[in-house]
């Protein structure tokens, strides 16, 4: 009996993996770069295209320098990591989010060089990536233009300044919105080296780390982030950019 059960388990788990592999073959966004994305950023690990990962974006980029993107995956449990990528961007990797116990919701803005799929891949504790995404059309130019801060020369007076607020919410996670002043130069504009925030950590009053974020070049200048922060009403934010400049702030509900 035990043997039969074991065989069933093996067969079923094989079927589940085969299923995952089947779905992986058919990218619902039909992107020529999906194979490369899968290999490069998801380590060719098992993937399912999953409606539980909701990615929101306008159908077209009105402003290629600031395309609003958000994802949520509240129906998925035990999330290890979320990877956001834009297949056809010259720098496809947008961010990695490690929400731990926090609500898997994040909103931000990105630079798009051309129309592209934008995806969120959510890795659950069973090591399967759940992938959702949408197409955004764009006129282009988003990544190869200098930031306004760098071209105007006034970025240094505001670098690392943080504005934020927490909105307490009764029936869902509290909402944290945070804006960090930073040029976020991609390195693709002639004569301007890449200069961007790399890491941000969210902690509570006692210093417990709640969530971690790795930020890459496509994130828009002066990043504006929205997060679900459960019932927290006090948060510490620490981060640094690729030149070693520190971001340091404490946010309370006001």
């Amino acid at each position: 009996m035990k043997v039969v059960a074991l065989v069933f388990t093996i067969v079923f788990s094989l079927m589940a993996q085969a299923n995952a592999a089947d779905k992986e073959m058919v990218d619902p966004l039909n992107s020529p770069q999906w194979g490369v994305m899968h290999k490069r950023f998801l380590n060719s690990e098992p993937v399912v295209f999953d409606d539980k990962v909701k990615v929101y974006a306008p159908e077209f980029a009105e402003d290629s320098m600031n395309v609003p993107i958000s994802f949520e995956a509240i129906e998925l449990k035990d999330i290890k990591e979320v990877v956001v990528m834009a297949d056809l961007n010259p720098i496809p990797l947008v961010l990695r989010y490690f929400p731990n116990e926090l609500t898997p919701y994040l909103a931000f803005r990105i630079k798009l060089q051309q129309g592209s799929p934008v995806r969120a891949a959510v890795k659950t504790s069973d090591n399967i990536w759940h992938v959702g995404g949408t197409w955004v059309d764009a006129a282009g130019g988003g990544c190869t233009l200098p930031s306004i801060g760098t071209s105007s020369g006034d970025w240094s007076s505001t670098l690392g300044k943080v504005s934020a607020n927490i909105w307490p919410r009764k029936n869902s996670s509290n909402r944290l919105r945070i804006r960090v002043m930073h040029p976020m130069d991609t390195g693709l504009a002639p004569g301007i080296p890449k200069f961007h925030i790399e890491k941000m950590t969210l902690s509570d009053k006692e210093g417990n780390k709640l969530a971690r974020l790795e930020v890459y070049e496509p994130i828009s200048e002066n990043p504006m982030l929205s997060l679900g922060v459960d019932k927290h009403e006090y948060l510490k934010i620490n981060g640094r950019d690729n030149n070693g400049n520190i971001v340091d702030a404490e946010v309370v509900t006001r």
Partner: protein
């Protein structure tokens, strides 16, 4: 230089003026190039809307390869001394076809061309009138100089071959606000703002026709890439007081009363309310973009797409008001 650089960056990035073409329209490109006899024909028909006064009405659509960018209203007044033209359309081809269509109505010379504001669908046809006096308000001319090239190249992307040979032709005369008489028509030029930083409204007191440019939309959602809504509302209140008999909006059908002015104002008021409420509740841009359209605006053309665009234009400034500096 500082300002110029940043403005260039913005104008490169924005899908400007009006609208957007989706992938679906690419098929139409094939259709229009294979249709030989009417290739790149805007089929402009002058409709008489008052004595001596004619309109070319554009479609209430986004720019597309299918419509060639004929999404705007332009018009002309035939005076005793010559023809006054209000806006020149999206392309060299539009301007030329507009001029040819006017020549079918009258053989009088062109006295003046007036540009209502600096959005591409209103002035890129100027090329067809490079031998004429093209008037614009000072501020409008400055904006055309700054952003015109960006608009022009973006329009090639949006409407394709319809743009062929279109070059930026600057207004060559400065228009001063106030009253003047042209060929026995008493005209009043209003230098106002709100839709952009410089909008021209032309009131022909002789016929009672008010050319409102894009300060007024009728049955089509207003566009906001350069809008200042507070100023726009003030301008709309002032336009409402004019004793016009015929109102020509920048987009949508001609009207005989203030209904389109009130509709434009009502929509803008709702829009600002949605944006402020979203910002004060900590919503992200995509959440605000998904706001349900009230029933009274649902029949407006392009209302969903314009809400999406307006959130991009106007939300960033508003949301900052609800954040606090936390590490000074």
């Amino acid at each position: 230089m500082t300002i110029l650089r940043s403005v260039t960056a913005i104008s490169m990035a924005l899908v400007l003026g009006l609208g957007f073409v989706g992938a679906g329209n690419l098929q139409a490109a094939g259709t229009s190039t294979t249709a030989k006899s009417n290739a790149f024909d805007y089929e402009l028909k002058a409709v008489e809307i008052a004595k001596d006064t004619y309109l070319f009405q554009g479609k209430n659509e986004d720019f597309s390869v299918k419509n060639g960018g004929n999404v705007v209203n332009t018009g002309f007044i035939v005076t005793d001394d010559g023809v006054l033209i209000i806006d020149t359309g999206i392309s060299r081809r539009y301007g030329e076809q507009q001029r040819a269509a006017i020549a079918k109505i009258t053989d009088k010379p062109i006295l003046a061309v007036y540009i209502t504001h600096h959005h591409p669908d209103h002035f890129l046809g100027n090329q067809a009138y490079s031998d004429s006096k093209i008037y614009a308000l000072d501020e409008t001319a400055k904006s055309i100089k700054l952003e015109g090239e960006g608009f022009r190249s973006n329009m090639y992307r949006l409407v394709g071959d319809w743009m062929r040979g279109t070059l930026l032709t600057m207004p060559n005369e400065k228009l001063k606000a106030g009253k003047t008489t042209m060929g026995k028509h008493e005209l009043e030029f209003f230098s106002v703002d709100g839709h952009t930083s410089s909008d021209l409204a032309i009131f022909d007191r002789t016929t009672g026709v008010l050319f409102a440019g894009d300060l007024v939309f009728n049955g089509r959602a207003p566009t906001t890439p350069h809008a200042n809504i507070d100023k726009w509302q003030k301008t709309l209140s002032a336009l409402k007081e004019l004793p016009f008999k015929v109102l020509v909006p920048g987009h949508g059908s001609v009207a005989k009363d203030i209904t389109p002015i009130e509709q434009t104002s009502d929509y803008l008021n709702w829009l600002v309310g949605v944006l402020k409420e979203g910002a004060s509740n900590g919503m992200d841009m995509n959440e605000v973009m998904r706001t349900e359209i009230p029933e009274r605006f649902q029949s407006m053309d392009l209302v969903k797409i314009e809400l999406t665009r307006s959130v991009t234009h106007l939300y960033p400034a508003l949301e900052n008001q609800f954040l606090n500096p936390v590490n000074d």
